[in-house]
C-alpha cells in the first residue's frame, strides 16, 4: 500500500521534483527534499506558526498539508522572500532593525506571516497588527519588537505609518 507519488512543486522559483510518500508533510518535503531549512517545525499541529509558508501567495501552515497536495503549486519560504540573495525583504530588514527576534526560531514564520498580512492590510493600526500576528508564537521577544518591526515594514512598503 501507500505507493510513492511523483510531484513537482515550484519552490522559491525553482522546480523541485520528487517521489514522495503521501504521508510526507509539505514542511518535511521543504526541509528535507528542497533543503529549505528556514521552514521551522515547532508544534507540528498548526498552533505555533513557525512553519508558515506562502502557497500560491497565501500564508498557510506547511505542517498541516501533505507534500502531494502541493503538486503543481508555487511555494515561497523565507529563503525566497527577498528579491535576491544580497538583499533583505523589507519585513526581514524591519525585524533586524527593531529587535524583532532573539533566538530566531519563530522568525521565518513571523516574516512570512507579516509579509502576507501587510499585503492584505498595507496600513494597519497597532491593534490590527497584534491581531494579525496572533497566529505566530514567540517565546523570547515579548512581541513588542515584532509589533514595531511590522509597523516599520508597513511604512517602508508604502502604507502610511501610524
Amino acid at each position: 500500500m501507500a505507493e510513492a507519488v511523483a510531484i513537482s512543486v515550484k519552490v522559491n522559483g525553482r522546480l523541485q521534483q520528487g517521489l514522495v510518500e503521501p504521508r510526507l508533510t509539505l514542511a518535511d518535503f521543504l526541509r528535507e527534499k528542497a533543503l529549505c531549512t528556514g521552514v521551522h517545525l515547532g508544534c507540528e499541529h498548526g498552533v505555533c506558526g513557525t512553519c508558515t509558508i506562502l502557497l500560491d501567495g497565501q500564508a498557510v501552515r506547511s505542517c498541516l498539508m501533505f507534500a502531494v497536495q502541493a503538486n503543481q503549486a508555487e511555494v515561497t519560504t523565507v529563503e525566497g522572500l527577498a528579491l535576491n540573495e544580497d538583499t533583505l525583504h523589507p519585513v526581514q530588514q524591519a525585524f533586524s532593525d527593531c529587535h524583532g527576534l532573539q533566538c530566531g526560531f519563530c522568525t521565518p514564520g513571523f516574516v512570512i506571516s507579516v509579509a502576507a498580512f501587510l499585503e492584505a492590510n498595507p496600513d494597519p493600526t497597532d491593534e490590527e497588527i497584534r491581531h494579525g500576528i496572533s497566529g505566530n508564537l514567540c517565546r523570547c521577544t515579548g512581541y513588542q519588537g515584532i509589533v514595531a518591526a511590522t509597523r516599520q515594514a508597513a511604512a517602508t512598503m508604502g502604507g502610511k505609518s501610524r
Binding site: 503521501p22 504521508r23 501552515r61 502576507a116
Partner: protein
C-alpha cells in the same frame, strides 16, 4: 513521518469522491482543509488507509445565490448548484473560511457567517480550513455550527444512494458526531436570507485571539414595521456537547417591542438551554455564566442595530 501510511486519492468530482468513500468504507476519510484532520493524523489519534482529498473537486468550491421571484442564478464560481431553491445562498463545502469571510454575497445575505468567520483560528488557518470541514468536524466550540443551527441552515449530502438534505437541527448529534455516515460527503450548505428589517451580531470569549472559544453567541433578530420582534434566532458555542440553540431566549423575545427588551435579563434565560462541561480551559459554571452574559451582549448589540434600521426604515 508522523501519520501512519495511507493511500492518497484526489478525485475531481463529487461522484468520484462518493465512489471512493463507498469503495473503501470505514478505511477511508475525506480530507478538506486538513486543519483538524492532519493534526489528528500526525498525533496518531486516528489513522486511515485511504485519504480522499477533496481539494481538486472544483464543484465543491464557491458561493452561489438565487434572488426571490425569478430564481436567477448569480453564481460566482460554483457548478452543480442544481438543488438551490428560490432565494437561497449555497456555499460549497470546500469554500475556504477565508473566502466565506470576504465573499460579498455572504456578507449581504448571511451576515452571521461573515461576522463569525474572523473568530476562527488565525488567517493562516482560514486560508486553508473550509466551511464544510468545520461543520463536518462539529467541534462544539466551533463558530459555524452555532451559526448554522441558529439560522436553520441545510446540509446537502451526497452518498451512493443520491443527494439528500439534512436540516441543521438534525445534523449535530454530539461532540465531533454528526448525522453524516461514513460514506456521506457533505457537498454544500444552504441558507435562506432574512427579509425585512433585521439585524445580526456575534461575540465570543477566548483566552487568546484565535483560540477556540470558551463560550460564544450568535443572534439574528427580525421585526415587523410596527417594531415588534417577529423572528429571533440565537445560537451558542462552547456551552454543550454540540452547538446549542437558546430556545428560551428566542421564545421570550417573540412579540416584544424592540425598545422594551432588557437584553441582559433575557440573556440570562440562555442558562436553561445549555449543558456546559468543565475542562482545563474553563469550569462548567464559568461557561454557563459567560455564555448567558454573551447572549445578553449580542442581543443588546442586535437591538441597537435593529432600532436604527427601523428608524431609517
Amino acid at each position: 513521518m508522523k501519520p501512519a501510511a495511507f493511500e492518497y486519492h484526489a478525485p475531481e468530482s463529487v461522484s468520484d469522491a462518493v465512489g471512493l468513500l463507498a469503495q473503501y468504507g470505514d478505511d477511508a476519510k475525506p480530507l478538506a482543509g486538513g486543519q483538524s484532520l492532519v493534526p489528528m493524523l500526525s498525533m496518531r489519534l486516528t489513522r486511515f488507509e485511504h485519504i480522499v482529498d477533496l481539494n481538486q473537486v472544483q464543484e465543491m468550491f464557491g458561493v452561489s445565490s438565487t434572488s426571490s421571484g425569478n430564481g436567477a442564478n448569480s453564481a460566482n464560481g460554483i457548478n452543480g448548484a442544481a438543488r438551490i431553491k428560490a432565494d437561497e445562498v449555497r456555499i460549497g463545502a470546500m469554500t475556504r473560511q477565508a473566502s466565506v469571510e470576504t465573499n460579498p454575497t455572504v456578507a449581504q445575505k448571511v451576515p452571521l457567517l461573515h461576522l463569525a468567520s474572523p473568530y476562527i483560528g488565525h488567517f493562516q488557518i482560514r486560508n486553508r480550513g473550509t466551511i464544510g470541514g468545520s461543520v463536518a468536524h462539529a467541534d462544539p466550540a466551533s463558530e459555524y455550527p452555532a451559526v448554522m443551527l441558529a439560522l436553520g441552515g441545510i446540509a446537502e449530502v451526497a452518498s451512493p444512494l443520491g443527494t439528500r438534505d439534512i436540516p441543521a437541527a438534525d445534523f449535530f448529534q454530539s461532540t465531533f458526531t454528526t448525522a453524516l455516515a461514513g460514506d456521506d460527503l457533505l457537498v454544500a450548505l444552504r441558507f435562506q436570507p432574512w427579509a425585512g428589517p433585521c439585524s445580526f451580531a456575534f461575540a465570543e470569549i477566548a483566552r487568546r485571539s484565535g483560540d477556540f472559544a470558551l463560550a460564544g453567541a450568535a443572534v439574528a433578530l427580525g421585526a415587523n414595521e410596527a417594531g415588534k420582534i417577529n423572528r429571533a434566532a440565537v445560537g451558542m458555542l462552547g456551552v454543550g456537547s454540540t452547538a446549542v440553540r437558546a430556545s428560551s431566549v428566542e421564545a421570550a423575545l417573540s412579540g416584544l417591542a424592540v425598545d422594551e427588551v432588557d437584553a441582559a435579563e433575557v440573556g440570562r434565560l440562555a442558562a436553561q438551554d445549555m449543558d456546559p462541561v468543565g475542562d482545563v480551559h474553563a469550569s462548567a459554571e464559568y461557561r454557563r455564566s459567560a455564555g448567558s452574559t454573551l447572549v445578553g451582549r449580542v442581543l443588546a448589540d442586535a437591538l441597537v442595530q435593529l432600532t436604527e434600521e427601523l428608524k431609517d426604515g
